[in-house]
């Protein structure tokens, strides 16, 4: 097979039927195909960003040895755009969540940093008056605290009692009743 092709090439050369294009020109032709198509479509007023993306994809796939039809390239471009949009939305949501989380953490730490001295409350009546409530906190181990729940997050709960502020793990609290 190889001999035949070589002989045929030689035959074309001998009878001056070949018009060799230099390697430099070959490279130039291949590199200018896509830009010239873009220029043509612009001159015809048929060029748009979407079509530009399709042409770009066609060129990239061809260089990789994959021949796509225009329709196939459009589908690939559509899928790529959809994937890009989905990735952008996911990224935006993730970024928003991250920023919100950081802002919440900042707000929380700011509140915590506010060093407001708690009043010295010696009786349950004083606690009820100060917080407008009085609660009973029942723990899993059977113990009970009387006071006012002053803060709670996912892990801990703080109760102001007549003995001061007591911090408990949330999962150790069985129930809270209002007195």
């Amino acid at each position: 097979m190889t001999t035949n092709t070589e002989q045929f090439t030689a035959l074309m050369g001998k009878y001056r039927l070949s018009h060799p294009v230099s390697m430099d020109d070959q490279r130039y032709v291949l590199d200018s195909t896509r830009p010239s198509l873009t220029a043509l479509l612009k001159r015809k007023g048929a060029y748009g960003a979407a079509l530009g993306a399709v042409i770009l994809l066609l060129g990239v796939f061809r260089k990789a040895g994959v021949s796509l039809t225009l329709v196939q390239a459009k589908i690939v471009a559509g899928l790529a755009a959809a994937a890009l949009a989905a990735a952008s939305v996911t990224g935006a949501v993730t970024a928003t969540h991250y920023v919100k989380k950081k802002m919440d953490e900042q707000k929380k730490s700011d509140v915590e940093k506010m060093d407001i001295p708690l009043p010295d409350l010696k009786t349950n009546d004083q606690i009820r008056r100060h917080y407008s409530k009085l609660e009973e906190v029942y723990c899993d181990d059977g113990s009970r605290l009387v006071g006012a729940v002053i803060s709670q997050d996912r892990k801990t709960i703080k109760v102001h009692t007549i003995h001061g502020v007591v911090q408990l793990p949330v999962n150790s609290v069985r129930k809270i009743l209002v007195r």
Binding site: M12, Y15, Q26, L37, K44
Partner: protein
């Protein structure tokens, strides 16, 4: 996407005639502008493109005041080289024209045999692998050889 396949062949054909890239750029642009307008009505794209190329080239030569008798001069293999090889040239050109090929195979044949593109460059132009181009080219050459056999030429080497 006919443009991507045919542009290298048409460009090479134009360049081999006028030798100037700037002119070849303009001429190809003009050919494909007309091609773009008439795309829907064209049945045989290759034939149409070569026909349009001849006309655009003829006009180009006229503008440059170069001497070309008629549009048909571009294709006449008998006229362009007449030092005793005329009949063989006609036979080879005829074999290339008549051999059964797909559109891609014909482009491969022209790019490799006529314009001496490397398999790698043809592969890049057509979105194929180098091995696919090499294989398809060998297949077409085999069919050309069969055509020669029908004309009584058993081996290509006989013509060399």
């Amino acid at each position: 996407m006919a443009y991507m396949e045919y542009y290298p062949v048409v460009y090479s054909s134009v360049l081999s005639r006028i030798q100037r890239r700037e002119d070849a750029d303009d001429i190809c642009q003009e050919i494909f502008m007309i091609f773009f307008d008439k795309f829907e009505t064209i049945e045989n794209r290759r034939t149409w493109l070569y026909g349009a190329m001849k006309n655009v080239l003829y006009n180009h030569y006229r503008k440059k005041k170069m001497n070309v008798a008629s549009v048909d001069d571009f294709d006449d293999v008998g006229l362009t080289f007449t030092n005793g090889f005329r009949d063989t040239r006609i036979l080879i050109a005829e074999a290339m024209e008549k051999v059964e090929c797909t559109e891609d195979e014909r482009i491969i044949l022209e790019m490799v045999a006529t314009y001496n593109y490397t398999y790698t460059h043809v592969a890049e132009a057509l979105g194929l692998s180098r091995r696919q181009v090499e294989y398809r080219y060998a297949q077409v050459v085999k069919r050309i050889q069969d055509y020669f056999s029908q004309k009584g030429i058993k081996d290509i080497a006989q013509l060399l």
